[in-house]
């Protein structure tokens, strides 16, 4: 039998070791815990001082804490007050303990969000950058260094100098050099070093570098520095202006691709078949609503939804097109005025239909993650991804359509019927069927355009109306019946609009383009590329 005293002694020793061990780990940990607790009670205006104290603890979870907070995902448990990260993944909330990373099976209702505002976000991003300077991921280091461009101080410069030697990534190194050069150009006592740094900076397109150079060019104490800064500035301005023009060109192409998508279906129904189709815009709208419905049906697969929506929209709008052609337009052949009025009526009916089914309010169509954001070519030139994909998509649709019309049997029949209906009939082509299919094809393509437009603009009952005028403008300007004319016209109008816009403002730019087209049509009523030959008459 073990004496009780021995047992108690052993227990005491055991506890002592345990306590020692714990306190060993948590010298900083305890302070961190206390501050984290404070975070759950502090008012929004007093949060920053608490965060500053937390940053001083240099606790390993710091980076994760700040990142969670800046994303607005930081919560706390209402009872235990432990910090949580609450993320929404595929429509479900995943709640984790921030410190341990353990997933907790608790309801979101018993958690409270720790609020952040802009001021805090700015501070947090700065703090994250400081930590990220030594991160493993090169792109994180690059972002951290670039955030120093805006505000660097003696401490961060010292840190950079020590990190510079071991930096393996050239991009990060060059960004570090830029910050160091900025510091030298601004603060060095040696005029020679300043001039050399400025010369180095004249290759950079970073806005912060430009702002520094503007400041330096007014420096009256050191005329050499000011003159050098002025020279570097001129060089940078030249390049910035050049990239500005490239940017405008891209904007123009992007607007052009939207116009192309919107008008390409009309180029078939109006251009090839000669039907003045006022309901064309509503075919686009139906395509956009199809996207909305598809996303409703697959809420957890938004990224893939567009691939389903494109064929679905083609079928829905195409079916409506065939229905309209069979139900109304076929009885109005050769009576353009009646066709115009009838299709206008159809457009109003479709709008009201959508309004009744889906409500007059705009519907939310989500953007897949691979279409959000932008691609940075250099610090002054960006390409937004959604616009870029839509540009590529417009060209693909156009190419597909040209192929269908020139290489397939249907295309051959369409061209035959549009050129000489009687003769085509005599050759045994079922013109009625071809008419219906052609109209369906044009409407289906308008539906596809709707999928693309749902990523750019409002999905509402009036979506079609805002594109119908533009579409007719493009088709008439390009030359009725000529697909390539539509392509050229769409890009010409897009670029013209974007070239005017910075000078005249958006309102006047569209007026100017309209006036230009009116004058052009006066001079050349058949558009850019008129159809030639007997068939044209």
């Amino acid at each position: 039998m073990i004496p009780i005293t021995t047992l108690s002694r052993a227990l005491r020793n055991c506890l002592l070791i345990l306590c020692l061990g714990l306190s060993f780990v948590s010298a900083d940990d305890e302070r961190f815990q206390a501050l984290a607790l404070e975070l759950t009670t502090v008012k929004l205006a007093q949060t920053q001082p608490v965060l500053e104290k937390i940053a001083e603890t240099e606790h390993p979870v710091l980076l994760q804490l700040f990142q969670t907070m800046v994303e607005g995902d930081l919560y706390y448990h209402d009872e235990t007050l432990e910090l949580l990260s609450v993320e929404r993944i595929d429509g479900e909330y995943v709640i984790k303990n921030l410190l341990s990373g353990e997933v907790l099976p608790i309801d979101r209702d018993i958690t409270t969000k720790i609020r952040v505002n802009n001021r805090l976000r700015v501070w947090l991003r700065g703090a994250i950058a400081q930590i990220q300077l030594t991160a493993d991921d090169a792109s994180a280091r690059l972002a951290a260094v670039r955030s120093l461009l805006e505000r660097y101080d003696d401490d961060s410069i010292e840190l950079l100098l020590s990190l510079r030697a071991d930096e393996p990534n050239t991009k990060v190194r060059s960004a570090m050099d830029t910050v160091l050069a900025m510091n030298t150009a601004e603060n060095s006592a040696d005029t020679g070093a300043r001039v050399a740094s400025i010369e180095r900076l004249s290759d950079s397109l970073e806005p912060d570098v430009r702002n520094l150079l503007v400041e330096l060019s007014y420096e009256t104490d050191a005329p050499v520095v000011a003159a050098e800064a002025q020279r570097a500035l001129e060089r940078i301005e030249g390049r910035v202006n050049f990239f500005g023009h490239v940017d405008t060109l891209f904007f123009g192409l992007s607007l052009g691709s939207v116009l192309l998508l919107a008008s390409i279906g009309l180029a078939i129904t109006f251009g090839v078949m000669g039907v003045i189709n006022m309901a064309h815009g509503e075919m686009i709208m139906l395509g956009a609503y199809t996207t909305y419905v598809v996303q409703l049906l697959m809420p957890n697969h938004i990224d893939a939804s567009l691939w389903v929506a494109i064929p679905a929209a083609f079928l829905v709008s195409g079916a409506f097109g065939v229905l309209i052609e069979r139900g109304v337009i076929q009885f109005l052949h050769g009576r353009p005025l009646e066709t115009l009025l009838a299709t206008f009526g159809i457009s109003l009916i479709l709008q009201q239909l959508v309004r009744t089914i889906f409500s007059p309010l705009n519907r939310q169509v989500d953007t897949p993650s691979w279409m959000s954001g932008q691609f940075e070519i250099n610090p002054v030139l960006f390409v937004t991804l959604n616009r870029f994909y839509i540009f590529v998509f417009a060209l693909l649709v156009f190419a597909a359509l040209v192929l269908v019309l020139s290489k397939t049997n249907l295309g051959l029949h369409v061209r035959a019927v549009s050129q000489n209906r009687q003769m085509a009939k005599a050759m045994g082509i079922r013109t009625a069927r071809v008419d219906a299919l052609t109209f369906g094809l044009g409407s289906g393509i308008a539906g596809i355009a709707g999928v693309a437009l749902s990523q750019l603009t409002n999905v509402g009952p009036n979506l079609g109306q805002s594109y119908i005028i533009d579409s007719f403008m493009v088709v008439v300007f390009g030359g009725v019946g000529n697909l390539f004319g539509t392509l050229v016209a769409a890009f010409t109008l897009g670029i013209a609009n974007k070239v005017f816009e910075p000078v005249t403002g958006a309102v006047l730019a569209s007026i100017l383009v309209l006036v230009f087209i009116i004058l052009f049509i006066q001079k050349r009523p058949k558009g850019l590329f008129p159809q030639k030959g007997r068939a044209a008459e």
């Binding site: 505002n117 992007s254 409500s359 989500d366 953007t367 959604n386 409002n458 910075p502 403002g505 958006a506």
Partner: protein
């Protein structure tokens, strides 16, 4: 003989009209003049529903003066001249006692001549540019000094903004507001180089170059903010493009005067977190009156619906009108108009709204940041309520003007320097 027929006819007419009015006296007619289609439907449909909800609620309480309220809903379809026609229809054919309606200032300006000619009563529930006070209109939304000016003050003092982009839709509200803001900023010592003004058409959807310009303007070393008076559904592509071009609220905050919870319910707010809006009410404000109102609204319109500032303004306007009709014992426009002045009713943020002699309300001013759930978090507010100022003090031509619809002034644009009323009604 002939005289007899005339007398007979007149008697008949009189009795007919008496019978008519006796029949009409069964209900009090309330006109609802909000666009249910077109570009403004996104915002205005909600207000129609709000008025209907308020009427239903009032009828449950026994109506007014022992009569039931009867809504008369018309659709002016975002078509400004149609607003005037529909007003005439409401006042002459339907003979409504009061109208709740309009959103854009152009629609209000189009209604003004009609409502003054026929001596109707309009409650206008949206923030607007001021520079107006009509005897026949009560402005229950914010005047510039209750929204635009405090918002700019907040940006200037708290966020230390030095450069300003004033972006708006091309019509009277943004143009006048921006004129006032420009004068105000100049007054505060902002150089004209540091102010960029931009207008776009209704429903504008291609924002690429404008956002790129704003980005460039904001990258020139001074803290920049965008003051947005962009209206209607053009906001969705505007914010989408902002998100796509990577402009976060920390770089260039956008403070919007026409974007509320309802507009945000149309899209994913994740990229917009931190951008601002200035209003006199947010759904997220904690007060018992607000909780009741939200619950009532959700029960009426659906669980997923949100509330917003113009709804609160409609709520206040309706309550003031109902209270005034009870107090006056009649729906007669002139009597009700005089009764409302000076009257108070609780607002939804825990304070009181009092109608001033210039037909404008007292309101608290709140600045909120957009959250990822489409709600706003209040980051700044005024101490107590601010009285609405019809004529801006920052425009030289309207500085000496005041509006006062009580005796002895009784004028919407009384010039305090010359002591005259211009005679123009609005």
């Amino acid at each position: 003989m002939k005289l007899k027929t005339i007398v007979k006819g007149a008697a008949l007419a009189v009795s007919a009209s008496v019978a008519m009015s006796a029949w009409a006296a069964d209900t009090i007619k309330v006109g609802v003049l909000h666009s249910l289609s077109g570009t403004m439907a996104i915002s205005e449909t909600t207000l129609k529903d709000t008025v209907l909800m308020m009427i239903e609620e009032q009828n449950k309480k026994g109506g007014l003066l022992g009569k039931q309220l009867e809504p008369v809903v018309v659709d002016p379809a975002s078509n400004w001249p149609l607003f005037a026609e529909k007003t005439r229809e409401l006042l002459t054919q339907e003979e409504v006692d009061v109208i709740f309606g309009c959103w854009t200032s152009v629609s209000r300006k189009s209604v003004l001549p009609v409502i003054e000619e026929l001596n109707g009563l309009l409650f206008y529930p949206v923030q607007y540019e001021g520079e107006e006070s009509s005897k026949n209109v009560f402005y229950t939304g914010a005047a510039p000094n209750q929204q635009a000016i405090p918002a700019v003050d907040y940006l200037m003092n708290d966020l230390e903004v030095e450069r300003w982009v004033l972006a708006g839709t091309d019509y009277v509200y943004p143009r006048t507001t921006n004129k006032i803001l420009e004068a105000y900023l100049m007054d505060k010592g902002v150089a004209s180089d540091d102010i960029m003004i931009n207008y776009t058409p209704f429903g504008h959807s291609d924002w690429q170059s404008i956002i790129a310009d704003i980005k460039k303007f904001g990258s020139e070393g001074k803290k920049t903010a965008v003051v947005s008076t962009i209206n209607g559904d053009a906001n969705v592509p505007f914010y989408k493009e902002l998100g796509n071009q990577g402009i976060s609220a920390e770089d260039i905050p956008v403070v919007a005067f026409s974007v509320g919870e309802e507009e945000l319910s149309g899209f994913d707010t994740e990229p917009l977190v931190g951008h601002l809006a200035a209003w006199n009410y947010f759904q997220s404000v904690e007060s018992s009156a607000n909780e009741d109102f939200i619950a009532q609204w959700k029960a009426f319109a659906g669980e997923d619906r949100v509330t917003n500032d113009p709804m609160e303004a409609t709520y206040i306007g309706f309550n003031l009108w109902a209270k005034a009709v009870e107090a006056a014992g009649t729906t007669d426009v002139d009597t009700v108009e005089q009764t409302i002045i000076g009257m108070s009713t609780p607002n939804l943020t825990g304070g009181t709204a009092t109608m001033g002699a210039n037909h404008h309300l007292t309101k608290p001013v709140l600045i909120g940041e957009i959250q990822d759930d489409g709600q706003f978090e209040v980051v700044w507010e005024t101490d107590g309520e601010v009285a609405g100022d019809a004529w801006s003090d920052f425009l030289p031509e309207s500085k000496p003007l005041i509006a006062d619809w009580t005796d002895p002034v009784k004028c919407g644009n009384y010039n305090t320097e010359t002591g005259t009323c211009s005679g123009q009604n609005y």
